[in-house]
Amino acid sequence: MRRYERPVFSLIYRIVRDRALAEDLAQETFIKVLNGIGSYRPEFKFSSWIFKIANNVAIDQLRRRSLDTLSLDGSPMAETADRMGATALQIGTPGESPLDEVQARELGAAIEQAIARLRPEYRSCIMLRHVEGFSYEEIAETLELPLGTVKTYIHRARNELREYLAHVRQ
C-alpha cells in the first residue's frame, strides 16, 4: 500500500484540487482495493486496477459536486481565505540552487495551473502517461476508454498545455 500511497493520492488531488477531500477519496480507494482484492484479475496490471478505482472515485466525486472548473489557488468549495490557502496545491522543488529553485517553482506552478485548466479526463490521461509512465494501452485499460480516445485526449491535452504555457516558454 505504501508504494501506491503517493501516486494514488497525487492523481486524486490533481483531479479534485482539495487536499482534505483528496485524502478522503484516497482512503476510500484503498479501502475498496483492499476489501475487493478478491475481484482483482491478475491478467491486468495491479497498478492499472488501483488507478482505475482511484480515477473512478475522483471522477464520481466531481460529477456529484460539479468541481470540474478548479483553481490552483484552492478548492472552489473553500468558503474562507484560510480554507483557500489550506486547499491550495503545495509545489516544492528541494535540492536545487536558489535561482534554479525559483525558476523551477515558477515553471512548476505554471504547469500545475495549466493542468488544473484541463478537463478532468485529460488530466487523468496526462498524469498516467507522464507521471506514472503508463503506455497508451495501459491508460486505455485503466480508464476504460478506447485506445484512439486516449491518444486523442493526450494529444489535445498537450496542445492545451502548450497554449497555456506559451507565456512561460518564450
Binding site: S10, F30, L34, N35, I91, M127, H130
Partner: protein, 77 residues
C-alpha cells in the same frame, strides 16, 4: 531541406518514437530544433511533477476500515 516536423512528430520525437529519417530534419532546421527543445522541456517538467503525500497516519486510518477475511470465511476489522 525536408518538411518541418508536425506537432504529432514533435511529440513522437520527445517520446523517442520518431523514425530516424524524420529525426534527421532536426539537424538541419533550427526552427524545428527549438520547437523540439520546448517539447522536451514540457515532457521533462510533466515527468517531474510533485508526488504529493497524504498526511501522516494515512495507512493506519485505511487499515482500520479494511475487513480482513478469516479462515472461517467471515470478516474481521
Amino acid at each position: 531541406m525536408t518538411n518541418h516536423l508536425t506537432t504529432e512528430e514533435l511529440e513522437l520525437w520527445a517520446e523517442g518514437l520518431l523514425p530516424a529519417t524524420r529525426t534527421m530534419h532536426l539537424t538541419e532546421c533550427t526552427l524545428c530544433r527549438a520547437e523540439a527543445d520546448r517539447e522536451r522541456t514540457l515532457f521533462l517538467s510533466l515527468s517531474q511533477l510533485t508526488r504529493f503525500a497524504p498526511t501522516a497516519g494515512f495507512a493506519d486510518r485505511v487499515m482500520k476500515q479494511v475487513r480482513i477475511p478469516t479462515r472461517s470465511g467471515e470478516f474481521q476489522s
